[in-house]
Symmetry: C2
Subunit: 455 residues, 2 copies
C-alpha cells in the first residue's frame, strides 16, 4: 500500500480511497469552532462505509499513521485538532439511514448522519431522536463525546439512547457492541466504554439508537425570576414534584440582555428558566403546566410567557438556541471559551454565583446558561488576546470549583485536549485503568493520540 | 500474613479478619437459589468496609487466592458458586447507609445495603430508589449484575441509577469511578464497565445512587386479554402514546392459573397485563389512566381491575410478586429454570409463543412472565431429574431464538456461569476485547474466576 501524496490518491488494498492533501483544504482542519488551533494534518479521507474504514485502518496500521475520526466537526474541546502527522478520517459522507423500525422504536444509521437528518426521517412515524446538543452534530461524533443537551433531563444522553454500535478497532476488524434491545446484562459494557472515548479506542461505523414518541401535547414556558437562586430553587421543586419537563434551562441576566440586543426583544433582563412540558394528553398536560406555574410563582416569578403552538414554541426556543450567536454579536472581535461543568444540584446556585463573581473580578463579560435539570452549567467567556490569560484563569477556577464540590470538568463536551489536565483530579487512580485499557485496545496508539489521555 | 485455617482466624496486616472455615457453613455456599451447585469454597470472610476489603485483596494477591464477592446471594446464574478454591467475600455486613442527600436526589451506601433497607430510609424525604428486581438484593450485587426489574420501563436499571462507585481493584487499592452528578463526558466510562462485570474486575465497596421522587398519584391495573398478541399489542400502544407507566408486566395464562391456585383468587385464566401509572397530580393521572383503559379496550381487553389505594395496589402487585412461589406450589417436587432473554419489541409476541409451543413439545409445564416494556421475557420451567434434559433443551432453544432475532441471552440476571456458552454468539469478536480488558485489570485472575469469561 502506498500513498501518493503529491496526487492526493492512494491504493488501500481494498478499493482505492482518495486522500486529500491539498494545503488549502488541510488548513481548514487546523482550527476548531472555539478558535483553538492544531497542526496541519497529513491528509483527509472520506470513507463512505465500514469496508473503507477498515481499509484506512489497515493502511494506518501498516504505515503507523495515527488517525483522527471526525463527524460534523462541532467539538468544543479540541478533539479534532492534529497534534502530530495524523490522517483525518472524515465520516460525514458515511451518512445513510440504514433502517427505521417504528415497532422497535429504533433506527440504525451510519455515523455521519446528523440528528436533524434523522429526525426529519423519523417524524413520519411519530418518533424522534431526542439527544439535542444544539449543534447539528453527527451521531457518530455525538456518541464519541457522549453528547447530551437540552432534553437530557427527561431522555438521557447518548449512553441512554445508543443501544448498539459497530466500530472498527485497531486490528482493522469491525466489531459490534451492545444489542438493539432495551436492556442486557450480558458481558462487559463495551458499548458504553466506546461512547465517550472520543475515537481513541475505535472508529464508530454504525449506531442503533432509541427513538421516542413525539409527545401528543407540548407547552413551552419562559419564566423570569429576580435571582438565580429563585430560578434554581424553582427548578429543583419542579424536579422534586416529578413533573414531566423535557427541557429545563437556566439563562442568566447578561444572557437575556444579549438575546434582547440580538433578537430585538424586550424581555426582563433577569435570570430566566426556559421550560418544556410534555404530556400524552391536553388534560394531563394542562394540569402539569398549572403545577409548574404554581411552583414558579411560589419562587417569586416575575413573568411567565407561554408558547402553545408550534410556531410560538419554535420562536421561544430560537431565543435560547441563538444564545451563542447573540453573545458573539454582543462581543464583536472576541473569541469564546465555554465551560461545561456539572455539579450536584445542591451546588448549582453557588456554581452560577461563583462564575458571575469570578467574571467580575477578572474583568470578563461572563454569561451563564445551564441545563439546570442536569446540574450542567455553561459559562461563556468572550476574550481577546489581551484577556486570554484572564479567561483561562476563569475557566480553570470554574473547573476546580466544580471538582472540589464533587462535580465533573465536562458534563457533555468531553475531555478532548482542553480538559486533559483535570482528568486525574477528577478520576484519581482510575486514570491508570483508563490508560491500561487504551494500551490493551490500541497498543500502537493510532486512534486519536493525545486526546483524553496522554499518548 | 498467614491464615490459620484450623481456627478460622487470620491476621491481615490491617485488622485481623476472621475466615469462617467451618464445613457446615461452607456447605451452605455450595448451592444457589436455582438449585445449581458448586464446590465447597475455601472459606468465608465478612468485611465491614473498604479497609477490610483491601486487606482481604492484599492477602489474596500474596497467596494467589481467588475471591468471589457476594451480596445478598440472590444470583440466578451461578455467579456465587465456587469452581476452585475460592474465598467468598461476603459483603452483607458492609451495610451502612452513609449519606442521603434529598436536594441532590442521591444516596451513598455500602454494598451490602439492600434495596428495601434503602427505600425505608429515603421514604421520609419523599424519595425512592427505583430499581426493583423482585428479590431484596444488595445494591452491590445489583450493580455487579446490572440488575433491573419491574420499574425499568420508566426508571432504567442499575447503570442509569448508579452515578458513582468505589471498588477495590486487583492491586489492593480502592479507586473511584464516576461522579455523583447527573451527567459527565469525562474520561472512559469505567463505572459502567464495573457495573455488570459480576465481581470479575473489582469488588464494589461503595455506591452513590440516584433517588427519584415518590409519585404524588399512583394507580395499578390488572387487565385480562384473550391472547398474548393482544396484550403485547396493547403494551406497544401504551408505550407509543408515551403514557407514564412505571410498570408494564405480562403474565401468561398458566401463570394466572398458578396465582389463582396459590392465592385463592378467581381471575380470568388468560394473559394479563399488570400496569402501574404514575403522575404528579390526580387530574393528570386520571387522564392518563383513561387513555390506558381506552387502549386496552381497543385491544380486546376482557376485564380491567383498578387498584386505587395503597392497600389495593399492594394486593394487586402481591399476586405478581408471588408468582414464583405460586409456581413452586403448583409444581411440588420440582426444581426451576428461569430464562431471561430480551428481544426487540417486534419479536416479543413471537418469543412468548415460541416458549409456549416449545414447552408443549417438550412436555414441560412452562409459564411466561415478562417485563414487556423492556422486551424482557422470563419463562419459568419446573423440572425433575427425569425432565432435566428437556428443560435444558428448552432453555437453550429460547436463548438461541432470542439471539437469532437480535436479542440478548440475559436481560437482567447476568452471564455468571450458566450463560457463558452464549457470550460469543451474542458479542462475536467483542468477547476478545472483554478478555483483553479482564487481563489488563486483573492480570492474576483473582476476581471471580470462571464467571462471565473463561478464566
Amino acid at each position: 500500500m502506498s500513498v501518493n501524496r503529491g496526487t492526493g490518491t492512494t491504493a488501500f488494498g481494498g478499493p482505492p480511497l482518495e486522500i486529500d492533501t491539498r494545503p488549502a483544504v488541510l488548513d481548514q482542519f487546523t482550527v476548531d469552532e472555539t478558535g483553538r488551533t492544531g497542526r496541519r494534518p497529513r491528509g483527509i479521507v472520506y470513507p463512505t462505509g465500514v469496508e473503507e474504514v477498515i481499509a484506512v485502518v489497515e493502511w494506518a496500521e501498516a504505515t503507523r499513521t495515527p488517525l483522527i475520526p471526525r463527524g460534523a466537526g462541532t467539538s468544543l474541546e479540541g478533539h479534532l485538532l492534529a497534534q502530530r502527522d495524523e490522517l483525518i478520517v472524515d465520516l460525514s459522507r458515511a451518512n445513510a439511514i440504514l433502517d427505521i423500525s417504528p415497532v422497535d422504536f429504533t433506527a440504525t444509521v451510519q455515523p455521519g448522519v446528523t440528528r436533524t437528518q434523522l429526525n426529519a426521517a423519523t417524524a413520519e412515524f411519530g418518533l424522534q431522536f431526542t439527544v439535542d446538543p444544539g449543534a447539528d452534530a453527527s451521531l457518530g461524533g455525538m456518541a464519541a463525546t457522549n453528547a447530551s443537551g437540552t432534553t437530557t433531563v427527561r431522555y438521557g444522553g447518548m449512553r441512554a439512547n445508543v443501544l448498539a454500535l459497530q466500530a472498527v478497532l485497531a486490528d482493522a476488524t469491525a466489531a459490534r457492541f451492545g444489542r438493539a434491545v432495551r436492556k442486557s446484562s450480558s458481558g462487559y459494557d463495551l458499548k458504553d466504554l466506546l461512547i465517550g472515548s472520543a475515537g481513541t479506542l475505535g472508529i464508530i461505523t454504525e449506531l442503533t439508537v432509541r427513538l421516542h414518541p413525539i409527545p401528543e401535547w407540548l407547552r413551552s414556558l419562559r419564566i423570569s425570576f429576580p435571582t438565580v437562586a429563585d430560578a434554581v430553587d424553582a427548578s429543583l421543586a419542579v424536579m422534586g414534584a416529578a413533573l414531566p419537563v423535557s427541557r429545563l434551562e437556566l439563562v442568566d441576566a447578561p444572557s437575556m440582555a444579549a438575546i434582547n440586543a440580538y433578537r430585538g426583544t424586550d424581555y426582563a433582563e433577569t435570570p430566566a428558566l426556559f421550560v418544556d412540558i410534555e404530556s400524552s394528553s391536553a388534560v394531563a398536560g394542562t394540569a402539569d403546566e398549572q403545577e409548574v406555574q404554581r411552583i414558579a410563582q411560589a419562587h417569586n416569578a416575575i413573568d411567565i410567557a407561554t408558547a402553545r403552538t408550534h410556531t410560538e414554541r419554535h420562536a421561544l426556543w430560537e431565543d435560547r438556541h441563538n444564545l451563542f450567536f447573540a453573545l458573539k454579536a454582543h462581543h464583536p472581535g472576541h473569541r469564546f471559551m465555554v465551560t461545561d461543568t456539572a455539579v450536584p444540584f445542591s451546588r448549582v446556585a453557588a456554581a452560577v454565583d461563583t462564575a458571575t463573581r469570578l467574571g467580575a473580578e477578572l474583568g470578563l463579560a461572563v454569561s451563564v446558561a445551564g441545563h439546570i435539570g442536569d446540574g450542567n452549567v455553561h459559562a461563556v467567556i468572550p476574550y481577546t488576546d489581551a484577556s486570554y490569560a484572564a479567561a483561562q484563569q476563569f475557566s480553570d477556577s470554574v473547573v476546580r470549583h466544580a471538582l472540589a464540590v464533587g462535580g465533573t470538568a465536562t458534563g457533555e463536551h468531553g475531555i478532548g485536549l482542553a480538559k486533559k489536565k483535570y482528568l486525574r483530579d477528577e478520576h484519581g487512580a482510575a486514570v491508570d485503568l483508563m490508560a491500561a485499557i487504551k494500551r490493551a485496545i490500541d497498543p500502537l496508539g493510532l486512534f486519536n493520540p493525545d486526546k483524553v489521555l496522554d499518548a
